[in-house]
Symmetry: C2
Subunit: 139 residues, 2 copies
């Protein structure tokens, strides 16, 4: 899709992409409020997400579109897409299938700074090997 | 504080700062789960936040520490600081005094992409002028 396509969603015009054409996107489970993860999106991944209702990010490490769950099966289903006051952050309200985190945890924020130490506050729901096989990567 | 100070919190060693020495931080109201805003932190602002319990960001536009609420009175009180699996995003569980957003809204994510349009889904709690005076900026 051309960025000048006449059918582009008007929300795209509010977003201030960074020098790499990316914007950070927070994924939140829509009903419980759990913050699941943060990843990056580009114009194409946002347009695809709005068109399909399945969340698609941009993987900086792989340099391409990252359809969340395409490898792991742990997809995110979009319920609402919001943009912040400055247009430089997105909030995605989603339904997360299974585990959002590549470690197999429900969310990525399982390490907390408490009492001068770092504590792990969540256990994996599923092993990374079960999600990705040996030598797993994000997906 | 020197970044090599022996009393540095061990969570600092888990964080992968970007090329500018910054990391994105999501602020979430600790009890309701409302995602309030996203801003940036550097090592010094994280250390200060952990030491004082008052959230301090790094303002990219002003190029310095931004003690949330120092101008507006709308401070954030830290309840928990979490780091994600990759060490490149923080989640701050906070208690937010009043409005997190410089527009006077409770949170910054008040514009939603719905039905092919952009809808404003929240009203200001307070006017920006009441927070900052005429010619308001973030604070």
């Amino acid at each position: 899709m051309s960025e000048h396509a006449t059918d582009a969603h008007p929300v795209l015009g509010l977003i201030r992409f960074d020098a790499n054409g990316l914007v950070p996107a927070i994924a939140q489970q829509h009903d419980t409020g759990e913050v699941l993860m943060m990843a990056w999106m580009n114009r194409e991944s946002i347009a695809e997400t709005l068109a399909t209702g399945r969340v698609c990010y941009y993987s900086r490490s792989r340099g391409g579109l990252w359809r969340k769950g395409e490898t792991s099966g742990q997809a995110q289903h979009l319920r609402d897409l919001r943009v912040d006051c400055d247009g430089d952050t997105l909030l995605l309200l989603v339904h997360q299938d299974g585990a959002a985190c590549h470690t197999g945890r429900r969310n990525c924020f399982y390490r907390a700074a408490r009492d001068g130490a770092v504590m792990e506050i969540a256990e994996p729901l599923v092993s990374p090997e079960a999600l990705y096989g040996p030598g797993h990567t994000h997906g």
